[in-house]
């Protein structure tokens, strides 16, 4: 009896293993067959599809990529992107998950380029992933467009990029913009506090913000900063610690669930009755705050994105198509993804070649470098890091919720031009802020 049973398990085990091996082998063959040239412009899209960054950033970005790719393939976009696909070639998007850390992302990036033979990669939210991918992109000579990650170290360490570009803005811009907005709208405040997630993003944001505020508002004193660990979710102790210092403004680089939890809890505990909160990533939860965020809270979108995007035919088309498909307006990560793909299309078409051909990575990167293109968020100049980093204005505004319609809007919008908030080439953001923004041209 026992013997018979173990034989059955053994056979079952072998069958299972055999099936698994066969499946694996067939997928590998399928992968090879698929990688053959098919005349399409294949783009790898890498963004968070799982984990905490998926909800607020990754999924809206992936959705935006689908909307834009579908629209371009149909030739449905308004000018100057009315032509079909990229350079006449149909776009084929390969979407993969960014979760899992930098080592895995380097592996998957190589798989995209060498196995799936993508013509370009657009993606990366995590700064750690961007830092790890940039040298690999150069090594493999693979055209790569970083659309969201904000680290200032991306192009300062890797001094001579050729194939990597960033159409999103440097995170220092967010905080310089926030400091300028406060100086313009609340010139009389004297006490500022902060709460940041204790990881690279939060640490860098607070570092840049305190340096910038010391320049724009020299009278302001920083009275408190709390650094809870990322994804903590409960901020009772931190809110108490902030409350006793009676700040007039609380700066936070929180995002996603942490940001919503903090706003909800700080509002309930009365911290936000006396203090105005500045949320540098606030726009990503515009539709979800409802009456939980007090009116007048200052929110940003890391550039002129999402609800801050200027009115133009491209953005009207994008907002409408996105809203029709996903029944909510695109937030800033969605706009940034759309911008990155449009930038790629503009560069590839500038690189030329016959209709329907896919230009080489060298040709596209030469055309991309230092280019100016129209995007859903206005005109973008690839004007920093030797023509590899985008320069755009940044906007901040205040939150306004209408309980009757259940809709949130943004008021008192101020936009600072790119040259007002972006350090010139050859200067680190640190040194530029400390020197008092030399050469800044503000409108």
């Amino acid at each position: 009896m026992k013997n018979a049973q173990s034989t059955t398990t053994r056979v079952a085990g072998r069958i299972a293993a055999g099936v698994a091996a066969a499946a694996l082998a067939s997928t590998m063959l399928a992968g090879v067959a698929q990688a053959a040239e098919n005349g399409k412009f294949r783009v790898g899209i890498v963004t968070f599809l799982s984990g905490p960054a998926a909800g607020p950033f990754g999924i809206p970005s992936a959705n935006a990529a689908k909307v834009i790719v579908e629209g371009l393939n149909k030739g449905a976009l308004p000018a100057p992107y009315a032509s079909k696909g990229i350079n006449g070639a149909e776009i084929e998007a390969v979407i993969i998950d960014e979760a899992g850390g930098a080592t895995k992302q380097v592996e998957e990036f190589r798989n995209l380029v060498q196995r799936q033979k993508v013509d370009a990669v657009v993606g990366y939210i995590s700064s750690g992933d961007c830092l790890a991918i940039a040298p690999v992109a150069e090594e493999l000579k693979a055209l790569t467009v970083f659309y969201d990650c904000g680290t200032s170290r991306l192009f300062s360490e890797d001094t001579k990029p050729k194939y990597s570009f960033r159409t999103g803005l440097d995170a220092a811009v967010d905080n310089i913009g926030a400091a300028r907005y406060l100086a313009a709208t609340k010139p009389d405040i004297t006490k500022i506090a902060g709460i940041q997630q204790n990881y690279a993003w939060g640490q860098d944001s607070w570092h840049d913000f305190t340096l910038a505020i010391a320049q724009t508002m020299p009278k302001v004193k920083v009275v408190e900063n709390q650094m809870p660990k990322v994804f903590q979710g409960q901020y009772g102790a931190e809110i108490s610690a902030l409350s006793v210092k009676k700040p007039e403004v609380v700066h936070s680089s929180f995002w996603g669930g942490d940001m919503e939890a903090f706003v909800l809890q700080a509002n309930a505990r009365g911290l936000l009755d006396d203090a105005t909160v500045v949320l540098t990533c606030g726009e990503s939860a515009l539709d979800r705050f409802k009456d939980q965020a007090p009116n007048g809270s200052i929110i940003g979108a890391r550039g002129p994105f999402g609800a801050f995007a200027p009115k133009n035919a491209l953005n009207d088309w994008f907002v409408k198509s996105y809203t029709d498909t996903y029944s909510m307006a695109p937030t800033y990560p969605a706009t940034k993804m759309a911008q990155a793909i449009l930038g790629l299309k503009a560069a590839a078409e500038k690189a030329g070649g016959g209709n329907g051909t896919v230009p080489t990575a060298d040709a596209i990167s030469d055309a991309f470098k230092g280019s100016t293109f129209e995007s859903v968020a206005g005109t973008v100049k690839m004007d920093r890091a030797d023509g590899h980093q985008a320069v755009q204005p940044i906007s901040y505004g205040t939150y306004k919720y209408d309980p009757k319609t259940g809709k949130a809007t943004i008021e008192n919008v101020m936009t600072f031009s790119g040259d007002c908030v972006t350090p010139p080439d050859g200067t680190t953001s640190d040194a530029w802020i400390k020197a008092g923004f030399p050469g800044a041209k503000c409108n």
Binding site: R10, L49, I96, D97, G101, A102, E107, R110, N198
Partner: protein, 333 residues
């Protein structure tokens, strides 16, 4: 020195891998194999302790130490010799393990697992708060040299790390194979079975575990250093508990039956994962979960039991008399 079958197979496989990798395999596959083999070294560290009945949920600690030693040695000490960087990582891990081991070896079972996890999370916490080291973003590894040759990107770098990793993996497996068959190695299994009896034999389970723990740390740090050289980037995630969990996952996938098992499991794991990501970008974790579930249900001794079962079965049907070699790596009827 007489080589047994396993050792001959090891050398043969290493040569086949090297030749196949250098002349036939596409770039992505070479890289995938490099990272898989480097991670398999960390898994070897986990398996070494599993043999003695200890499950380390914090092997990421030494993986991270090895990786950061390579990164920091290049970044702050200005050392560019790849082999020296790897050696620094191994030495650092050994020193750390010699200190932690004094405490760790007093614990067993879940207490050992939790304590090992705690130490790796302490390193994670320290790294996250070190802004000079890039906090969670980590930093890139400088270009390095191998025996005087500068390795600066391109196919050459991929191949150099691949060769280095295959040789390191084969060497470690070679010594581990001898170690497992030595009296100390055998004692590890005895400790798992019955620690009190081992003490009655006049041996000290604690010090054997200690030596085992330190050796496992060295092997894991080597894996971390090779991973850092291959990917060119280190970050605190290397010490995060999910990374350590992945090593335990791979160890269970392979089983403890042979020194080949962790390598096989790491390669299968990487291939399953990369194709799962490609074909099911929204549900790739589910595929990995089902894979482990399938292994646990159908192959409780890991992937390697496919091979040992075949070996046990064969004599029964073909030649019933020759059943002398039935060491099946802990598979008990």
């Amino acid at each position: 020195m007489r080589l047994d079958k396993t050792e001959l197979a090891l050398i043969g496989l290493a040569v086949v891998l090297l030749l196949g990798g250098l002349f036939a395999a596409p770039g992505w596959l070479i890289f995938l194999l490099t990272v898989a083999l480097a991670k398999a070294l960390v898994v070897q560290g986990v398996v070494m302790q599993m043999k003695a009945g200890l499950v380390s949920f914090g092997q990421g600690l030494f993986y991270c130490v090895g990786g950061y030693a390579v990164g920091m040695g290049g970044q702050f000490l200005g050392i560019s010799a790849g082999l020296v960087l790897l050696a620094i990582g191994v030495v650092a891990a050994v020193v750390l393990a010699m200190i932690l081991g004094l405490l760790m070896t007093r614990y067993r079972e879940i207490y050992f697992a939790m304590l090992s996890l705690a130490f790796s999370m302490i390193l994670y916490g320290v790294l996250v708060k070190s802004q000079e080291l890039g906090s969670t973003d980590g930093f890139n590894v400088n270009s390095w040299t191998l025996l005087g040759q500068t390795i600066s990107g391109g196919e050459q770098a991929t191949h150099a790390v691949f060769v280095l990793t295959v040789i390191a993996a084969a060497a470690v497996a070679f010594f581990l194979n001898r170690y497992y068959r030595s009296s100390v190695g055998m004692t590890c299994e005895a400790i798992r079975e019955n620690e009190v009896r081992v003490e009655y034999l006049g041996l000290s389970p604690r010090w054997i575990n200690y030596a085992n723990y330190v050796a496992a740390a060295a092997v894991s740090a080597l894996g971390g250093g090779l991973t850092a050289l291959a990917t060119g980037h280190v970050d605190p995630d290397m010490a995060y508990w999910t990374t350590s969990g992945e090593f335990v996952f791979i160890a269970l996938l392979g089983g403890t039956g042979s020194v080949f098992a962790p390598f096989l499991a790491a390669i299968v794991f990487s291939l399953v994962r990369t194709y799962a990501i490609e074909f099911l970008p929204n549900a790739w974790q589910m595929i990995l979960g089902f894979t482990l579930l399938g292994i646990v249900v159908f192959l409780p001794k890991g992937l390697w039991s496919l091979f040992t079962r075949a070996r046990v079965d064969a004599p029964v049907s073909a030649a019933p008399s020759s059943t002398s070699n039935t060491r099946t790596g802990g598979a008990r009827a």
